[in-house]
Assembly symmetry: C2
Homo-oligomer: 318 residues x 2
């Protein structure tokens, strides 16, 4: 910057003003500065300006998701990046899959704000952070903060009612880790719609292979269900594989929570309760920006509606 000032024959501060787009600079001086910037290929040092600046904004937010490579997270991530880009902000991406949530979060803590899909049992470690946080997909434990979620209970209950309408009475539940609020809420929706007549349940399914094994066991068990509700897309896919293996894909109905690519091309096409990850990401980003801009109101819980998409697998009558 010093070099630029010397080359342009102005003071350091004038260069700073031009670089920062302040309007109180005479046009000819500004032009000279810009020429010098160009010829010296000068680029401002963001870290240095951050250090001195009053507002202390880094222009960066952190996004911590379970696994940026699964379709739900990837779509959400994409939406956050787009929204941040529109605001001229950058996005640091982190993975929570390895189970070291606290560490992963703290490494990106020196940002203007965080969007987190909480995985760990407790998020109290965030209390010491001075940074605004918005949670997505799941409610945190031990802290209060804005959270953007799907209407999990209503969505799951709607799926079950849809199956009941087709005549199903014995409906199995296959779900994710019980301690996650998403799994808990979807299970609650399942129970609510079914009243007292819950079917077989399997919890804590971590991947498609586990879901496939569990579905086979349930379908081969005594008094097998006529329909299955799958609590997340990985599980849905495992159930599809199981039904195929047993030749039951046109016999046992299936509704999955969360849509996934090509669900409509399977045979039968898979009926799902679709979430809207892009909207969730956008909403989380906009909420975070409001907090960054100083919004001090009480933490909000924002529910993004789900949509039942009947495609075939959920419309197999009993």
């Amino acid at each position: 910057m010093n070099d630029v000032a010397r080359t342009a024959g102005v003071s350091l501060k004038t260069v700073s003003r031009v670089v920062n787009g302040e309007t109180t600079v005479a046009p000819d001086l500004a032009a000279r500065v810009r020429a010098a910037v160009e010829s010296l290929d000068y680029r401002p040092h963001l870290g240095a300006s951050l250090l001195r600046r009053r507002d202390r904004h880094t222009g960066t937010i952190g996004v911590l998701l379970e696994d940026v490579s699964n379709p739900f997270s990837a779509a959400l991530h994409r939406a956050v990046i787009d929204e941040a880009g529109a605001r001229g902000m950058q996005v640091l991406a982190g993975n929570l899959a390895e189970g070291r949530e606290r560490e992963a979060v703290l490494t990106v803590a020196q940002t203007d704000g965080l969007i987190i899909a909480p995985m760990a049992a407790n998020q109290a470690y965030l209390a010491s952070l001075r940074v605004p946080v918005v949670f997505v997909d799941r409610l945190p434990t031990g802290v209060e903060a804005d959270t953007v979620l799907s209407t999990n209970v209503a969505g799951a209950a709607g799926a079950i009612r849809h199956l009941i309408t087709q005549g199903h009475r014995r409906i199995a539940y296959l779900g994710d880790m019980r301690r996650l609020t998403t799994a808990k809420d979807r299970h609650r929706g399942y129970l609510r719609a079914l009243g007292g007549r819950a079917g077989p349940e399997v919890h804590d399914l971590r991947d498609a292979a586990a879901a496939e094994r569990a579905a086979i066991a349930v379908l081969r068990g005594p008094d097998p269900p006529t329909a299955i509700f799958a609590g997340r897309s990985l599980i849905t896919i495992g159930v599809v594989r199981a039904l195929r293996r047993l030749g039951l894909e046109r016999v046992v109905a299936l509704v999955g929570f969360d849509d996934f690519p090509l669900a409509d091309l399977l045979d039968p096409p898979v009926t799902v309760v679709a979430q809207d990850p892009a909207r969730m990401g956008r909403t989380a980003a906009l909420t975070l920006f409001e907090r960054i801009d100083g919004d001090k109101s009480a933490p909000r819980e924002i529910r993004i509606p789900t949509t039942l998409i009947p495609r075939g697998s959920g419309e197999l009558a009993i």
Copy 2:
């Protein structure tokens, strides 16, 4: 840091030493400093240390992909994040889909290095950057730098030879934007394996819907092909839809370049030339780290092998 020094009753520099894990501090002083750090909830300001530090490393790299939400990019991205995390580095994510590659890149240029899947016609704008760059998926134009790619020509040629083995002679090519080196190379492999007997070709297909329309046109055209080679997974999916619409999914063979989730669950299951995006991401990250660490050797072109996965759609005999 001043507060910590005062609380611990030592000099600023001693605090700095402890924080940076230097060993030349007496154990009792170090303990006092750590206690003060704890009680004051002190956290070092990364920007400030960056500013003064000799090596000027930010501990951050930028990753710019076409669209972090497509499965190929997402898997690659995930691998880069993991590899960076293992090295204690952070990852800034950017999207190139909007067509403003230069701007997107320059906004994340203040990092230690960049991994870019080039989209624009030319990357000469990178020459002025002082930051090491590794390209993935596609070769850049106008700059020389390490590039990590799939064996596109060989992979495509292998797919075509596979179809020829089943008796196919009239094989259509449906591909992406011709100016992208991936599309060019896959097309070259197609031509090479086919000798002079190339079938109908459609280029510049940007999404699944366009591919579906193109496939329908080709299949309804005069002298329709008995097999189709799809140049990327979005196109493959479009072709699957087209074949279904026309009831030809068991008549016209299909091999797609790039694997995609659930390809094995479609009917018939889709034969693909699988890439290894995770390995590409890992390789790109490791190559970039070598450059960051000062490797000045000539730019390398690293080819990651592809694998033909026969699943059914490519094994329909004529």
